[in-house]
């Protein structure tokens, strides 16, 4: 009984986006990537972008924020090196972990 349900304005806007965005983003995935916000500024950002974007978009980092502690970010970087074979040396790895913890780690109480 859709007639019994009233949509708030926000929901209507959402519906318009839902059906309208397809047209707006008709160019597909590449365009959508361009619209994802850049990584936060901070020491190590260039190293992160160079190392991580080889295999996956940087939005993997932003998606997993901000709720991971330093140990978990460290383990994620270790997994990328040890399991997935990312060619990241110890110096770069330390820089990457420090950046991820500082910019995308769980907020300290």
């Amino acid at each position: 009984m859709p007639g019994h349900i009233r949509f708030p304005v926000l929901w209507r806007a959402g519906l318009a986006m839902f059906f309208g965005l397809g047209l707006g983003l008709g160019l597909g995935l590449g365009l959508a990537r361009a619209q994802t916000p850049p990584l936060a500024e901070g020491p190590g950002r260039d190293t992160v972008e160079a190392a991580c974007a080889v295999c996956h978009s940087l939005s993997y980092i932003q998606m997993n924020a901000k709720f991971l502690g330093p140990d978990v970010w460290k383990a994620e970087v270790a997994k990328m090196r040890g399991v997935f074979g990312a060619p990241i040396d110890d110096t770069a790895a330390a820089e990457i972990v420090a950046y991820l913890v500082a910019r995308y780690g769980v907020a300290k109480p």
Binding site: V9, A13, G14, L25, A65
Partner: protein, 400 residues
């Protein structure tokens, strides 16, 4: 905030810019970081999907499109582990290779030869084991899925066992291994290869799908051919299938030995996978019993004269026995009306007439029980990778 970015270039909607952050296609319970990067996209051959990541593509179905027993092909979710996805034209001369140390002889099947085998249809849910991971508290790392890493389609093609018979299965076969055409960027990244125990591989319902909902598989859903493993989670549903190995030994790789595992004994509904089960942990296998309120969704306004709530329920193929709905956030429950079943592996649609409601905020909840008496737990069963999140879905609406 993000909304402004998303809507840049959509002049027609620009006047609504001042309105604060409605993203009715995105759960408010997702991590802030996830909400910041999620985008509504329409990749080639698809329609409105929520993009969580674009490379590799991980795109989920908006809850508004999960309102029927069959999910539209164009809005069926997309999940990849690796970024290199071949273009459609590279499959023009596609064929499927079958071999292995427990095969009687090597075989190679063209699309034509697959289509010449006896054909069958199965309506089945493909569901990522990590569906709703993004709603797990505390959050765990991984793709932060909301409700839409799942869909139900009618798949068509030959049974896997008839395909295997072309090579011949020796009596000492233990597992069937599967490879697809998508690959990682780096050569030393473990390739996403998976295996099934022989029993599930030769089961009646397991097929090699050449079509989906009556049409070709979209590239992002596994064109030209994908494995369909009804009742089991999506990790086994190999896309762009290129090679099958009939093996005497278990597949030993990261994707079988480390990933997609749950603590042993925690989810008793899971089918055994004897060649991969270990004392500490076991592969995630069966889909957990679960349900969804498709309508209304969080934040909707409803009339106090009442409305018809609608949704989906599903499990691993034992079949849905009952769906209960609460209109007071779980204090009291009443049984919903179940629609006709499309098959044991399909979404089961349900509805409930609420009757008159008090003004104010109402929280609906839904929970399903299957024919094996598996029920949804009140609280999330914690496991390291955030699998099987099947706590009762809630939708909070305003009665006006």
């Amino acid at each position: 905030m993000r909304r402004r970015d998303v809507m840049a270039g959509l002049g027609v909607l620009a006047t609504q810019k001042a309105v604060a952050a409605p993203m009715p296609w995105l759960s408010p319970d997702l991590p802030d970081g996830t909400r910041a990067i999620a985008r509504m996209v329409r990749p080639p051959g698809k329609q409105g999907l929520i993009q969580l990541t674009d490379r590799p593509p991980n795109l989920e179905t908006p809850i508004q499109a999960l309102n029927a027993a069959i999910t539209p092909t164009e809005q069926f979710f997309v999940r990849y582990h690796h970024a290199n996805i071949p273009e459609e034209k590279t499959f023009d001369n596609w064929s499927l290779e079958i071999g292995g140390d427990a095969a009687e002889r090597p075989a190679r099947l063209t699309m034509r030869q697959l289509e010449d085998l006896p054909q069958t249809d199965v309506t089945a849910i493909c569901l990522c084991a990590g569906n709703r991971r993004g709603l797990v508290q505390p959050h765990v790392p991984g793709v932060q899925w909301g409700h839409g890493a799942m869909g139900c389609a009618t798949w068509h093609g030959p049974r896997l066992r008839d395909v295997l018979a072309k090579a011949g299965v020796k009596p000492d076969a233990v597992e069937i291994w599967f490879e697809g055409a998508d690959t990682a960027t780096l050569p030393n990244t473990p390739a996403f290869h998976k295996s099934l125990p022989l029993a599930k591989a030769i089961a009646n319902e397991t097929i090699v799908a050449t079509t989906m909902n009556g049409g070709p598989l979209p590239l992002l859903n596994g064109y030209p051919v994908r494995l369909v493993v009804p009742g089991w989670t999506g990790t086994y549903w190999m896309k762009h299938l290129t090679r099958i190995t009939i093996s005497r030994v278990p597949l030993e790789n990261f994707w079988m030995k480390t990933a997609y595992r749950v603590p042993a004994g925690l989810f008793p509904f899971g089918s055994p996978f004897p060649s991969q089960d270990r004392a500490a942990n076991v592969p995630v296998t069966d889909i957990a019993v679960n349900s969804l309120i498709s309508w209304p969704i969080d934040g909707d306004e409803v009339e106090r004269s009442g409305f018809k709530a609608r949704g989906l329920a599903w499990d691993n193929g034992r079949g849905i026995r009952r769906v209960d709905v609460s209109l007071d956030d779980g204090k009291n429950w009443q049984s919903a009306l179940l629609d006709r079943e499309l098959g044991p592996y399909a979404f089961r649609t349900w509805s409930l007439d609420t009757g008159p409601l008090p003004r104010g905020t109402v929280s609906l909840r839904v929970r399903a029980i299957n024919n094996g008496r598996d029920a949804q737990p009140d609280t999330y069963v914690t496991n390291p990778s955030g699998y099987h999140n099947n706590t009762p879905h809630r939708a909070t609406v305003k009665v006006v």
